[in-house]
Symmetry: C2
Subunit: 209 residues, 2 copies
DNA sequence: CAGGCCGCTGTGGTCTGACCACTAGATTTC
DNA sequence: GAAATCTAGTGGTCAGACCACAGCGGCCTG
């Protein structure tokens, strides 16, 4: 029974088993997964191996455990682990640079899509929000990323953003006015102008990245 | 000694301890960190707790363990966070569409960067390759992705591409001629024309994605 | 001396069984 | 009926036991 395909770590097998289990039962965020002891039974592995897998997934923010209750699938939202990564080994200069560039590119992609396809009413709602609330730069672009309706791209943005966050690439003082200008161009479906505003006013760059 | 700041999980404390330990000793990728038993001793926690922390960091790709040898810090470039997230929730239908779109966007981003910054000699080498070899569409864009010199973006492309591959979004018959046209525009630094060629000739789409 | 064999030690990999702390729901008690 | 209590189930942690493997040094043999 212990013929685990490869000779390698059991906890990885458990991770894989969990993955297919979740897929098979089409479990969604919020759902409960079997208890550690039951998994340990079902998969014929020690509880400690199961725990290693669960702890790893927990640190990744994929699951959430509540003592006395159980383990639950988590919505891919606020994984705080990523903050760790930043403080961990992210000192390399080149990496920082790539990170910033990639973030910019993705944000521009999102802007393009929004400029083409977003409903005017959604953009207007965003205008209202900008006027009403205090917010950080990444709050704003998170909303842009969501508007673009491409969940995968949104996810990539979130990841890149969380890495970027922890490495103090913080944007300083951007004025609401600039965001509003950007939104206005989006409403007018003027992709060119929108991106120009983004690069020059919001990211303080010259025209060619 | 067991006054762990909060009431929460020990393995997280261990992660934190490791972090500061690495920082304090300024350990770099490749360096060895203390053995599980020693950590367990030094931090006054059970070895299993240490292992939970290490396994989590390992899954994140931050460390690497070699049986019989020890645990080592790993090069951050290779982290598998993104892969994991992908394999986890990538089942539903809409995702396919997002996948294709995202791939296209990233490819366009790469093309833009190449058009601006790639050395003419590198592009010419690619021309030679196209003429000489038989290749698949993704072979070509892998080379584009590499040319762009942004390791992170390249990485994201590879991941998105591998998913796209498995879900048979294969491109049919594209003629070498089209790729050569594209490269010619890149050489001329004509971003506009290059992207137009990409969308219309290579991806068979109308101008606005 | 060179080459290889052997066993010791240290390391990660895994399992087991034992507690503890906590939660939620059933049960009892008033 | 409401409140207090008990209980079963769950995650959190630990200690100790093996195993498999890598590296090293010493010993034997040719």
């Amino acid at each position: 029974m212990k013929d685990r395909t490869s000779s390698s770590k059991i906890y990885l097998d458990v991770v894989e088993s969990l993955r297919s289990m979740i897929e098979a039962d089409s479990l969604l965020p919020g759902d409960k997964i079997p208890s550690e002891r039951e998994l340990s039974d079902r998969l014929n592995v020690g509880r400690s191996s199961v725990r290693e897998a669960l702890r790893a997934l927990e640190l990744l923010g994929l699951i959430e455990t509540r003592r006395g209750e159980g383990t639950f699938i988590r919505d891919f939202q606020e994984h705080k682990l990523v903050e760790l990564l930043g403080t961990f080994f992210l000192q390399d200069k080149k990496v920082q640079q790539d990170l910033a560039e990639t973030k910019r590119l993705i944000e521009i992609d999102c802007l393009r899509i929004v400029a083409f396809f977003a409903k005017a009413e959604d953009i207007k709602r965003l205008v209202g929000w900008v006027k009403a609330e205090e917010f950080r730069d990444d709050d704003f672009f998170l909303r842009i990323a969501i508007l673009n309706r491409n969940r995968l791209l949104e996810r990539i943005w979130r990841i890149v953003n969380s890495y970027a966050r922890t490495s103090e690439m913080v944007q300083g003082n951007v004025k609401k006015e600039d965001y509003l200008t950007l939104l206005t161009y989006l409403l007018e479906r003027d992709e060119e102008k929108a991106i120009e505003t983004y690069l020059i006013r919001i990211r303080n760059m010259s025209k060619d990245e």
